[in-house]
Subunit: 337 residues, 2 copies
């Protein structure tokens, strides 16, 4: 449409001519410069309105050296956690007047993260949020001497950039303490992949709670966050007679565990109690509804933008670390021994 229209879009000079002022005055009006006579201002605004003028942000970015665009690097935005975090980021960024450009990685190795950051830097983003839940990603970030202000989400201990994350340790501890408080002798654990900082944090919290209570610490079963890996862990657990309580490192794997237990005739919570992690929207409707630890992904996303914007606008380079607490969500998958 309009390919033969010929009328190019109006530019600032057109508005200026229409309003009988210089283009600089138009610029001043648009940028809320205080020293413009109100009569002139209205005349300019009318001209803008009449011509349907819209300022060219690319030209503006060239001269101001600010694109008002933030970059986001994330791993597999198909997963609930990253998707929710990115959603929070996007909402907060837009509210703060920034555009959001996204790179979603398939695998997170150092090269991948480096490429993504370069790519965004090329585009001229003013700042970057890296959702880096894996150790490799966090390290890649730590190594990179990047010229763009950056914030890591779930970035673990990496010291170079500010970090916003959920307190995984406390989450693991809460889950475990809940199960112990119900009278379980010990708590088994289906953990996430070892490269993930979140997985490590949950393991550590679980272990600490057991040790503090002076209980035996069983060997954790390995999972990869997928329902299938939970299912396989569940089959192993079902065959062990002494298992009465399991803390599963995420809700999806917990679903797999529940499925395996159902197949093997292991009743939850009558014979085994199960606690998950994340509180995905589905977990309330698992059979039975899943007791879990809620992560406020949305808050994490919002906070990361707050920190980044502060970095961009304030400029103070506080080496911040903002920790969002998880919350315990009791449902029906856990019971007294």
């Amino acid at each position: 449409m309009g390919s033969t229209l010929g009328r190019r879009l109006p530019v600032m000079a057109d508005v200026a001519k229409e309003a009988g002022v210089s283009h600089q005055t138009v610029s001043r009006v648009l940028n809320d410069h205080p020293n413009v006579r109100s009569e002139t201002r209205t005349r300019v605004l009318e001209a803008i309105d009449k011509l349907g003028y819209r300022r060219n942000l690319v030209a503006r970015a060239l001269v101001t050296r600010h694109s008002r665009t933030l970059g986001v690097v994330s791993f597999d935005t198909t997963l609930y956690g990253p998707a929710s975090t990115v959603y929070g980021i996007e909402q907060a960024a837009r509210a703060a007047g920034y555009f959001v450009s996204i790179v979603s990685l398939k695998s997170i190795d150092r090269a991948g993260v480096r490429d993504a950051l370069d790519y965004l830097a090329d585009q001229g983003v003013d700042g970057i949020v890296v959702v880096a839940p894996q150790r490799s990603a966090a390290q890649a970030l730590a190594d990179l001497p990047l010229g763009v202000p950056t914030v890591a989400v779930e970035g673990g201990e990496a010291g170079e950039v500010p970090v916003v994350c959920v307190d995984q340790f406390t989450g693991g501890r809460l889950a475990t303490e809940h199960l112990l408080s119900l009278g379980h002798e010990t708590v088994w654990h289906v953990r996430g992949p070892s490269d993930w900082l979140e997985a490590e944090g949950r393991v550590a919290g679980w272990r600490a709670a057991l040790e503090r209570a002076g209980r035996e610490v069983p060997r954790p079963l390995a999972g990869d966050w997928s329902p299938r890996s939970g299912y396989e862990a569940g089959r192993s657990l079902a065959s062990m007679k002494n298992v009465t309580a399991v803390f599963v490192a995420n809700d999806q794997m917990a679903l797999g565990v529940l499925r395996a237990f159902t197949e093997q005739g292991v009743r939850v919570p009558e014979r085994v109690s199960v606690v998950g992690f994340d509180d995905i929207p589905e977990s309330e409707f698992f059979s039975p509804p899943l007791t879990t630890i809620r992560q406020d992904f949305d808050a994490v996303g919002r906070h990361s933008i707050e920190v980044l914007v502060r970095l961009l606008e304030g400029g103070t380079e506080e080496r911040e670390r903002l920790v969002v607490p998880p919350t315990f969500v009791p449902r029906l998958s856990t019971a007294r021994v």
Copy 2:
């Protein structure tokens, strides 16, 4: 870091001086212009390498009037469908050399869509993909006289822009025919919100299959895609004695239905068969594993970019409509009467 460094980034002129050529020659090398002596080319490339020069894409965009950025407007990217679609879009766009800027809407009304499109147009995107599964969004799109090439995903019948979508009608038909083929007298339906085109398509496919088989068409139960609404529909269905087969319009609601059935002692698939829609990663591990209709969201996202890029680069304004077929995924939630 580097705030006191003072050394500004190298620009094309710096490279030119370093290589002993004009900046235009540098530009030609970067743009793969054929008429550059290979010796000169290597000299320029060496200079680029030595100085760590990176071309300023903002300046380039200003003069070429192309930002190589595509905009995506989507509704609630927290949901599995939109998230997967956006993921596919992002991957395909990056592979085609485009950046992706995202706007995620909380509610899709005409004003919201209009704002999002304006917002992206201001930013100077070259093209836009609108994930518009609701009728209101599709209409908003149809009304808008936008100056930027646009493709709608799941956009229904809206005639102004090319559309890429999954064949919802066929999906609904497949689900229903499967249940009928198992000997069920008729099939009940838990539908999605009436504003959603996808919901309508599935209802229509379900109805058509029943009518073609000469069966009674029960009144569909209303849902809003959430597990909770499925749960509520499930409680209603559980109380009806004549229900033996249910087609639920998405997997999340199907989870709620399964939960309600479990609570009421209605066994699946022994007493009632259930079919879902979407094939989310969890559905294989529901109890029982859910028979469902798979939508290839990723393919939809990829196709939408293909169409858009063709529009941008070819320029032919074919009023395309690309339909991705759904596939039937048999699992254990359905059985013969």
